[in-house]
Symmetry: D2
Subunit: 417 residues, 4 copies
């Protein structure tokens, strides 16, 4: 029920009534080219594949504060008063369930609306019961989970994360290497609920979770919504690489003043985020294939808490590149963005695509949804793809493939003799 979740929920309510446009959402506004350029076939994505309708969605969630979605949205100060007023009644009706929350993973937050349980195992059981109750009370057939919570402190994989057995044993012993996110992941997968992880927290990337996802035929996706600066980075870096312009350095700083900024001001939490943000460039630029161009650049990422901005983040990038004969050039990018506004359509798309994936019989890692994540996932041993445009090709060709349409290669030699 933070800024991202309430902006998503309020936006869906507004869109249903025609009071706002779900800009940024491929499932709502995207089109897809089919066949040759000259055929002129460009249906909407939601006409090509069977997605759930906005009208049929019910929202639920957990939070460490008891505020309902209206109160939470007002506090988040993302959407304007007139927008919130228009759907106030519907928002008021979305009240959070009590959270499973061990505060040691997010030291700057202290919630009151939390469950109690003798062990993490029982905590998971309570979450599972919540899910079942939600389905019954709301009378819904299918459920999808999208994690919109805070960044947690940095955790590395340990033996407890390796197998279903070791993980369940860890739950029973309330192992400190199991963070809050993992409790929700486990509960969801046990219930066969697809899980997309919008934070950089350790969640869907451990072997035990992969095993459980396969066993329960459940799709998973993650991690960390690709919104402001990293989104730009995965746009610009492919551009430099396409033209083989060399890189001496890339300096990125962010200022933001919302609760996310406050949490990331704690170095332990920042480390989780930093790891998620730093991997992007190497993965796109492939230094090993480009000696002398991309194997010796300096990459620095800063996030600074800066209250004057609230949810309106600003990312400033300086890129030191070089061209022909090594001559230096610079690009500076200033992105005055809004965190939750960029994240909301991702939440909606992930919910609908993960639900589609489940029905299509997909399970485990959904690499084709890497398009939405800062630190996307791939099958073990496979290079992860961060390039937004490769990710887009993958996503769209996956949709074409699902319905038996020809894949697009942009060869286009048939137009010439």
């Amino acid at each position: 029920m933070g800024a991202v979740a309430t902006t998503t929920i309020a936006g869906v309510f507004l869109a249903r009534r025609g009071l706002g446009k779900p800009v940024g959402s491929l499932t709502q506004l995207g089109t897809i080219r089919l066949g040759k350029r000259t055929e002129g076939r460009n249906p909407k994505i939601n006409e090509l594949v069977p997605l759930a309708n906005l009208e049929d969605i019910e929202f639920g969630g957990w939070d460490v504060f008891p505020d309902n979605a209206l109160e939470a949205a007002r506090r988040a100060r993302v959407l304007e008063t007139e927008h919130l007023d228009a759907v106030a009644d519907e928002l008021k009706a979305v009240a959070p369930m009590k959270a499973a929350f061990y505060p040691e993973y997010v030291k700057r937050l202290s919630g009151t609306h939390v469950k109690e349980a003798p062990s993490k195992y029982e905590m998971v059981e309570q979450l599972r019961a919540d899910i079942r109750r939600f389905k019954q009370e709301r009378n819904v057939d299918r459920v999808v989970a999208v994690w919109c919570g805070s960044t947690e402190t940095f955790l590395q994989q340990t033996p407890v994360h390796q197998t279903i057995a070791s993980f369940e044993e860890g739950l029973r012993k309330s192992d400190p290497n199991i963070n809050n996110t993992l409790l929700y992941v486990w509960a969801c997968l046990k219930e066969g609920v697809p899980f997309a992880n919008g934070a950089p927290n350790l969640g869907v990337d451990i072997p035990a979770v992969h095993e459980l996802a396969r066993e329960t035929n459940t799709p998973i996706a993650g991690r960390d919504f690709k919104t402001g600066q990293t989104l730009m980075k995965t746009v610009i870096a492919p551009g430099l690489k396409a033209r083989l312009l060399g890189l001496n350095g890339w300096y990125s700083t962010n200022i933001l003043g919302n609760r996310d900024g406050e949490v990331l001001d704690d170095p332990a939490n920042f480390k989780t985020k930093e790891n998620s943000k730093l991997g992007v460039l190497d993965s796109i630029l492939e230094p090993a294939k480009h000696p002398g161009l991309y194997d010796d650049y300096f990459h620095k990422v800063r996030i600074d808490y800066y209250p004057p901005r609230g949810d309106a983040k600003e990312g400033w990038d300086n890129i030191d590149l070089f061209g022909w004969m090594g001559y230096p050039m610079q690009i500076k990018i200033d992105f005055l963005c809004r965190d939750s506004i960029l994240a909301a359509p991702i939440v909606l798309d992930l919910a609908l695509f993960m639900d589609l994936a489940k029905r299509a019989g997909f399970r485990g890692i959904q690499e084709w949804l890497g398009f939405y994540f800062k630190a996307p996932m791939a099958a073990e041993g496979l290079q992860v793809e961060h390039d937004l445009f490769v990710q887009q090709s993958k996503l769209k060709n996956t949709l074409r493939w699902m319905v038996g349409e020809e894949l697009i290669t942009h060869l286009g030699n048939e137009y010439y003799d």
Copy 2:
């Protein structure tokens, strides 16, 4: 023999001796993935297809000034003294032939090193003789032309441009709708020399030229090298579109102080450039397919002559975008670039790829080289593609297709069960 040409030539000389790296050149440094990600096959492009070697290239050109390449390069002040000194002898040996130059198309230039002829037809004949003489004197088998000259005043297509017959009649009558560029294009095609147009001038885009290219089995490509700001635009706009972020406005201004800037300070010449620069966004964003996102934005492009910078251009872009529920955001991009440094590798790649195309039996428009142009070309009736990443897929899949390798679609579902 302007800044772009001499930077290219000097760079090739430096690269031959290992004194500089041809950064930005796909033919020299690019790799290409073949087969599955897991196969690890990533040869260099020049190992996949048979390209001419740098060692085998001979340079020639026409110019309205008699300076040799060394003098011209020093005046252009792009490369540093130590770089020019290292290849001074070779540069000195590259002296321009007299130019075919009617000054009414570039009012701010007045050259002295020019041919005289009773009609434009005879002017073309003189250029053809130059080409034949060059081949003989330098003992070269194949020739390619890449236009690196100034922007000319804006011209529209007229009846004289429609057929070979009408064009040759126009040459005889020295029709004012035939600019300098077209004289060179015609001379080259008549000699079977592939022609790539690096300026926005009317050149390879008229029906008469297309007819002649087919008839003489000659490849053509154009127009206007995609270097600084437009390069960034064709990187950023696909990024916005991938995520369906809406656009309210895009303001672009450029400051540059070289001869190009001086020429563009004349409104008649600027109009030619402006047309080349303005088409980019609509073509990428496809307003018709995206009502409410891209059908009502304000696009403005400025170029201002600003002597303090010399060849070091600066492009500043402001992008007013909007996201979820229409909330506004802004991106500002400041690109401190160098015109000739960005153009030089394009000149080299076009020379080598056009030569390859000719040998491969390609003729007419080379859409797969649109990657290098601000205003790329496509077969009649076909939507032109400006998206740098689509252009890159087309170029690379064309190379793969040439040698019978599998095309890349990024579907990648074979890695998952």
Copy 3:
């Protein structure tokens, strides 16, 4: 009744009720140091000199549209709805008088709410009658005029502007060298009403007006409110000069989307504005005193109409400077400002200070108010001062001098032995 005037009026209404703070106003919020630093005497300016109270102000004005201040303010979209709603009744009561408006001076505006008169002389008489009626109806003792209208086409001084006699003859003949602004100036001075010119239009800077101002003991001030980019320029340039950093070039571009932007899109009107904006640097940098530093720089100013922004202007400056041994450096400034928000406190201050000046027996040019103008005025033959900090010293020392306080020199040697 444009954006500036209505923002000023609404702001004063809001401030009276404690619903908003008149930020930017020296008369309301400014303090002034008196005596030595150690004395700690820092009264508010309005405690030092006798200024009119906000409570006692009545507003009136002329406009070419009949909308009252509430309607006009809503259309201008500067202040938010909640601010306008809070003072809606008071704004509604401010209705414009019919304007004296010859449309040839502002070709992009066509007003309907205009006076008719057989000659410009009679037009002035009608304006004078308006002023007298306003004083009587509102029961006010003193009146001050601050011009907040549009930029008019560029006019140069001609013989008609030289003397009271020639000017009045010109009025009778409706001389085309007398623009709308001058009609208002003349009417005001004839009524003894101080006049401050917030636009760059020819207004208070002609000899005839100076003569009339002296004759009628009326203060005048102008021209062109110093708001966004020029304000920054008069801050930065004195900084460079203080440190004797040299200047190679200064490039300034503005994007704005309000009515002002639309009017300035007409080259004839832009020329008036450009002249006002270009003089700033030379006056501050004094090239003659600084050979080799400031006598050979390139200065370019652009204003582009860009509707997406409305009243929220953006100014982008690039400064090419050089330091020790001539080494180059750059400063880039991006000012996301709001035109009317920056102008409103200037309007208020000028009204109160001009009224003070009149009561203090000042007449003619008020150089001490040059602080507020892009193109300030000085006595004939005297160098005009654009440096914001010199202007500030002059303004504050004038206030100190008015009340017999010691002038501040910042020598401060008394604190040391």
Copy 4:
């Protein structure tokens, strides 16, 4: 013998021969207005007061590396090869004396060219002997010291810093609260050599030093050269304050890649610098006098080591301001500067002005030279002045006062009746 010192020395050598201009130096290029504006008296500063000539300067220094000034300058990579070559012989002749250097104050530096001594007291004695030897060997009458060394770790004042007696006792005991800078300060003052501290290190700001300066009739000044971002801050902040525009926040980040950047990457050293940089705004904006404008802003300063830039620093500032009725605006400033290029003229000016001060009989804190420092000094109990323009008035009025000229107040009412 770091980047700043060698850039200064080489520049003076170049200027002597007319091969470079000492841009940025008031003592060399500055003029000063005398009397009324209409008098036209604007002599150069070095014509008004008797300053040492460039021709008469001898350079000496201490360094932890044995490289002479030529080697050090080449390594610093500030000045171009052709500049250094032109004065190579003179630079080669400037070899450093062994440094007094306790490495615990600059952990990232490890020098080999260092003195050894049983206590800090003897270390000071060795430095004093160096000074006397330098005077004798070079046959100079007067000596001035300007500290151009690295930033040391943060130290607070303790009892040892309070009196001459306690300090000398501390020297004997090698008190850890006495850093390297203080050793040089003490040696200089004991020899009657004026000392200007260009780093933020504890140096001339302790009571013991003040006492010694008075006792030995020696001028002192400091601290921390005001060069890039802070220079801009003390230009912009007075501009905001002049117009009473409110401040919500100011975010500053710096990237630099020279030895200074490396040293500041250590948090203990950064703290010293941060303190020096943070005080600026409050001192200029005077929150107590401006409630509601400047008493609740968020100020953040970052310095990040970023090797791609070398000595070419970049400072990026974001300023969140507000105007009339509290409406928000933003200013972003990107300063592509060069640290040593900006510092060199300061070093020269301080040397000449401090020498002037000594001859004029000034002693102790030279507040009038605060113009050159990030953290200027003032007599005890006196508010420190950071506003660049107030500092400039103070400096220039001090010069006028020295020679009996009238102080400038900018009142200027004599030009009007």
